[in-house]
């Protein structure tokens, strides 16, 4: 099946899946036919895009913090803030196939599966990256070195390098298979601790390689102003993966002041990412890596994840939807009227809308 030409400037919202609670992670399955999402309601939600059916699985006892599909398809791994990891055969059974009860001591913030499907890797606040057998959840090894919470993981397209990013801005490279540390890159710009702060703000919230593994993007925010509102300047640091040198620092033109929660490379080294902002519109921004400014942005409410469809033409963003009670105080709302905020899973199709093509 041929896919339409990539045309970011003509991107449009092609699908919106509503949910009545806040979801912070959403991913396409490797075959692009399913979407899995999780967040505040502790459930794992799976949409079957062929028939618009939605299933919700319960097992987690707290917020779902991360999820990743097995590259071969059919299996989904979800993690939570108590450090529990479940493996799901999501299309078959609504109970976990198996569970790692204590993948990490504190919590799991990020997890992924190696491209060869063999290993499941998790990381979180205990700073130790854990490697498990993806078939049965048996521990394989641990990777030590980070000094602070690990927020993000990524694997190079050739499957050889694992990269992890933490709160201090330390980006570490590990060899997949030998599980040895290789080098450390400095993304410290994404961490702020001013003298009057009482907590560290920021961190490497997202990592992504480009298609041929020559570039690594590390997303977060710089120059945070406080540890209260935590506003900063959303920033992506682009490293030359071969040399390890910082190649470029990218930002947005808009007003969003939250970190880049997710970055994705598109074809031709275009970069997409999403950020967040308080009580108003945020944006999905696009860069061409050789240009000094973003070339396009789409207005969207705050978004917390970014998943690229295998066809490289669709981006999935779990997007914030106000439940109508935002802001300070109850302001007259009764308990029955005071409801949590919601989500819409938006799919942005990165090409011209079909009817335009036929007429154009």
């Amino acid at each position: 099946m041929s896919r339409p030409a990539l045309n970011v400037k003509k991107a449009w919202t092609s699908c919106q899946l509503k949910h009545d609670r806040q979801l912070f992670r959403a991913q396409f399955s490797p075959d692009g036919q399913f979407i899995a999402a999780g967040g505040q309601d502790k459930l794992v939600h799976v949409w079957d895009l062929k028939n618009d059916k939605k299933k919700s699985f319960g097992a987690h006892k707290t917020w779902v913090s991360a999820l990743a599909f097995h590259p071969a398809g059919g299996q989904l791994f979800t993690a939570d803030y108590h450090g529990v990891v479940h493996c799901w055969n999501y299309d078959v059974y609504d109970r976990p196939a198996w569970t790692i009860g204590n993948a990490n001591d504190d919590n799991v913030r990020t997890l992924l599966v190696t491209p060869n499907g063999e290993h499941l890797i998790t990381a979180g606040d205990d700073t130790i990256i854990k490697v498990f057998n993806s078939t049965n959840g048996e521990p394989v090894t641990t990777l030590n070195g980070h000094q602070e919470s690990v927020f993000s993981l990524a694997i190079s397209p050739d499957g050889k390098d694992l990269v992890s990013g933490d709160l201090y801005g330390s980006v570490r490279q590990w060899g997949i298979g030998d599980w040895k540390p290789v080098r450390e890159l400095d993304a410290g710009l994404l961490h702020t601790r001013k003298e009057n702060f009482i907590a560290d703000v920021g961190g490497v919230r997202s990592l992504a390689f480009n298609g041929d593994g020559t570039l690594l993007a590390a997303g977060g925010m710089k120059e945070a102003k406080s540890n209260a509102f935590c506003p900063g300047k959303p920033t992506v640091l682009v490293f030359d993966w071969t040399t390890g040198q910082l190649k470029n620092e990218l930002g947005i033109k808009g007003k969003s002041d939250g970190p880049f929660n997710a970055v994705q490379f598109l074809e031709d080294d275009m970069l997409a990412w999403h950020t967040e902002i308080l009580h108003t519109s945020s944006e999905l921004t696009f860069w061409k890596i050789d240009q000094s400014e973003p070339f396009h942005s789409l207005e969207n409410s705050s978004g917390y994840d970014l998943s690229l469809h295998p066809d490289q033409r669709q981006l999935l963003v779990p997007t914030y939807v106000s439940g109508g009670s935002s802001g300070n105080g109850a302001r007259g709302k009764t308990p029955a009227e005071y409801l949590p905020n919601k989500t819409v899973l938006k799919i942005f199709s990165l090409f011209a809308k079909p009817q335009e093509e036929t007429t154009g």
């Binding site: 609670r21 806040q22 912070f24 505040q40 309601d41 006892k61 707290t62 917020w63 913090s65 939570d80 803030y81 108590h82 919590n107 606040d125 009057n196 702060f197 009482i198 907590a199 560290d200 703000v201 406080s226 540890n227 209260a228 509102f229 935590c230 506003p231 002041d257 939250g258 967040e276 902002i277 308080l278 009580h279 945020s282 409410s301 705050s302 917390y304 914030y320 106000s322 439940g323 009670s325 935002s326 802001g327 300070n328 105080g329 109850a330 308990p335 005071y338 409801l339 949590p340 905020n341």
Partner: protein, 428 residues
Amino acid sequence: MNPASQNLACGSPAHAISRRQMLGTLGGLAGFGSLLHPAIAKQIRNQHKQVCLIWLDGGISQYESWHPLPDSKFAGPFRSINTSIPGISFSELMPQTAKIAHKISVIRTMATKDPNHSTGVPRIQRGDPLDRGVDYPYLGSAIARLLGPVNPELPPYIWIKPGNGGFIQRDAGFLGAQYGVLALGDGRPPIHIHRPEMISAEVDMARDVLRQKANERFTTYRNTSDVDAYETSYKMARQLMARKEIFDDNLLDPKDRTRYGSHPLGRHMLQARQLLEAGVRFVKVNSYHWDTHGDNFNMSQRLVPQIDQPFAALVNDLDDRGMLDDTLVIVMSEFGRTPIINSRMGRDHWPDCWSIALAGGGTRPGAIVGETTSDGAFVDSEGYDIGHLFHTIFTLLGINPQETHYHNKSQRLAIARDDCQPIREVML
């Protein structure tokens, strides 16, 4: 009414004890801010009640601290843990305090009006008084006036805060500048508490004797309260200089420093203990930047332990020293945080239903007061406003808000709101 008409007797040089010293306050003119019943005042002054107010500025999130409710639709991602009170849980971010929950009390149904910091903070610390066209004193200044000092050598109201220090008159409101607060910036005493380097202790003493002799001569035939108050200020200054070790955190036991934590709030609360032990009537400790509108969960994870650790240490230490019964410890903010999570993964302001913690000073240990809706968002029993809290505090300190009033020029002013009562469930 003229402030200068004081009957101060005797023209002898020995006349150095002013009425103010007897009353134990610095300066202070009869007629301004005086009590309706001086007899009651004298009675109160004989007690040794002290107060430690810990102010977490910005609004600590009750969901991430005192009232976790992990099954609530508004819950955050953290666990809740059992406390030493059967059936009661706190957030996992408060493990130390959970262990000593049986020594403290928590009010979970504070329901106040003001969702704003700028008006909320001064309003709350003043007791949310009715608008009488005057600036009411902050709680510490009020207590300084109503109870005076415990140790007359030390100011009755000291504030340990990050940033700058100094003598801050504003807290005193209409009570007058002498009831202001001595603020220790980052816990450090006023810079001028140190004798200049080139002056030895002996020389300092010798020259102070010269000064006193000059004053004796001057006051032999002059007797105004202003001159007396001036002499008293020097006496207090010298006393403070002589006691400056109570501000020297280098003298603290390193074990204590570890127990309280080396972060600013930990250090400052340990210093608060030092000041309480030295006999300061009212110590306020401030921590700022709790207003987590953004990234509330990552921030709470790092902030809440910063109060958990030293609060537990302080309560235990006061208990060990036999001081807990007479020392009222209050931990609070200007409001709590919204159940609803906003677009920045934060929580906004929530005066509608929030928590404060109390310990000692006659509060009921282990009392967890107030029922909320099951999701923790709203009050489902009695909601308490700041007026109730102030009634409670004054009553615990032995001051009857019904019978005690301020006099400000021609105004008679209540010390706490007339339309509120003490919160009995939290009192022994």
